[in-house]
Amino acid sequence: MNFISTIQNVFRGRTLATIGMIWLCVILVAALAAPIFAPFDPLDIDPIGRLQEPSWAHFFGTDHFGRDTFSRSIYGARMTVVIGLGSVVFALIIGGLIGMLSAYFTRLGHVLMRIVDVLMAFPALLLALVLMTLLERSVTNTIIVIGIVYATTTARILFGMTLKLKGEVFVDAAKCSGAGHSSILFRHILPNLISPLLVQASFIFAFAQLQAAALDFLGLGLPPEIPSWGNMLSEERIYVTRAPWLLLFPGILIIISVFSINLVGDAMRDSIDPRFKDDIAGV
């Protein structure tokens, strides 16, 4: 099971997912090498050249400070990647641990999963809003808040799956071999959770973008001076009639990116699931 053949399995015969993956790579490259690709400094203001239409000089036009929207969009890709990866890592580690430990240690689970249930009773955006109002606007806090929101769903899913895996015969067999709790949890149960975790990661990455954009738009997310697609939407929203391109480009970028992540996530799930079935049926 090597890495390259796994990748080939995921994308063979799935054109849309392949296009989605290419787009995500473009975003990643843009994020890593933003200073190289951006023709202007994203923070350079130009009071004379405000609200310019898209042109060869400014592909995406300029905003109400005269900043180059194209350059800001490229720097915005950075935030997309940082927020996405940050939320995924936070949510999977925290949520995964809560879910696994709760299922494995029943008493602890009674407490932890009740807290998760309470948090899940809030709609995701409302929960993020409430938490954000308690915290300062910053990249870290945005990641933490979105991470907490999706840690709850991750915990729920992994709780159910761990509960099932914990009753598997191979877990009993490991106990009979003398394996301790940590070895059973992390050596025997966790590797069997890799595919749901991957699916969950792509789901969180996509929704984190929407959440972050919504928080930015409401002025509760990233600090306003950071160019992110959500902040761009938020700051330029009053110019929607005079300079619609200011909303069009970041809006399209968010939509295409979320769509791409979902396509790639679905492809991963589809390609992993049948092989998972093979383990059980292909004997």
């Binding site: 067999a173 106990k175 009979c176 069997n192």
Partner: protein
């Protein structure tokens, strides 16, 4: 005459489960007496078979003795140490000596671990190998012992057939050189053509290593060649226990006779198999002798009183009210 102390001495073991959600007012809860007061012993090097039909509690006996289920009551002395009440941390070193082979060879191997990883785990836990190289040597030896090519250790479980997987399961147990192996229906999930091979393998391994076994099966036919002694279980209780010949040639309990008559025979003309009937429920067992609703010779007392264990010989014990009648006078 004094016999050496048994390797395993089980006294009045009980394992009850609470089942049912309990409903909103905790009503629907029921106690399921999966194992209800059984006693037996296994001596060093001996194979005791535990037979009985599905649901009578055989697996639960094995799982309780390996602390996979908590015992409700009773004692089990292993080499003189009471093991049912041992805290997990103190039982762990003993796990090396008390090993279990599971019924389902497909479910008992972790699909995400290679055979080497699966077999190395017990070695490292019990510090039987200092490093990977030492472990691989031991794994190779054990794989050969169970009739597999050592090269298979780099592969994953899904690449193997049921019989091969059960051999891997046997290897995982034998690599620890245990004193007692509990084999739970270890061939019943396999093709009939494979069953004999695996049975012969475990029989040879048992004889060569001198390990004691609790061999669990619902099929008296399977246990015939492997057992030294046989215990017959019905609804959580042992109804008859004796040497192999005593059980197969001279069965006394009506249930044992029923089980014996249901072993399929190849001889034509003897095809009549007595109807096994419906086993009773373990949540609300019949009063008196649990077997009486299905028993051809049940009398009034069977409905009201639980039968005692009657000694038929020093090694042969049977729990039936009507034994003296059957044998024509008390033994």
């Amino acid at each position: 005459m004094t016999q050496p102390a048994p390797l395993l001495q089980v006294n009045d073991l009980k394992t009850y489960f609470t089942i049912g959600t309990g409903g909103p007012f905790g009503s629907g809860k029921q106690t399921l007496k999966a194992v209800d007061g059984i006693s037996f012993e296994i001596h060093a090097g001996e194979v005791l078979s535990l037979v009985g039909e599905s649901g009578c509690g055989k697996t639960t006996v094995g799982r309780t003795l390996t602390q996979l289920e908590p015992a409700t009551d009773g004692e089990a002395y292993f080499n003189g140490t009471e093991i049912l009440s041992l805290p997990n941390s103190q039982f762990r070193p003993l796990r090396r000596e008390i090993q279990m082979i599971f019924q389902d060879p497909f479910a008992s191997l972790n699909p995400r671990l290679t055979i080497e990883q699966t077999l190395a785990e017990p070695l490292h836990i019990h510090k039987l190998a200092k490093n990977r190289k030492e472990a691989r040597v031991l794994i190779s030896e054990t794989l050969q012992l169970v009739g597999l090519d050592p090269k298979v250790m780099d592969r994953y479980p899904h690449e193997f057939s049921g019989g091969q997987r059960q051999r891997i399961g046997i290897a995982r147990v034998m690599i620890l050189k245990p004193k007692l192996v509990i084999a739970d229906e270890m061939v019943s999930a396999l093709d009939v053509s494979i069953q004999a091979q695996v049975l012969n393998l475990i029989k040879d391994l048992q004889r060569d290593s001198g390990v004691s076994m609790l061999f669990i099966s619902h099929d008296l036919g399977v246990v015939r060649h492997i057992s030294d002694r046989v215990a017959v279980m019905y609804l959580g209780k042992i109804v008859e226990i004796g040497n192999r010949l005593e059980i197969f040639e001279n069965p006394s309990h009506p249930y044992t006779k029923l089980l014996l008559s249901s072993i399929p025979r190849i001889k034509p003309g003897r095809t009549k198999v007595e109807d096994l009937g419906e086993p009773a429920s373990a949540t609300s067992p019949p009063t008196g002798c649990a077997f009486h609703p299905r028993c051809a010779i049940a009398t009034e007392i069977c409905r009201s009183a639980q039968p005692e264990m009657n000694e038929l010989s020093e090694t042969h014990v049977s729990a039936c009210h009507n034994i003296s009648q059957l044998l024509g006078g008390h033994a």
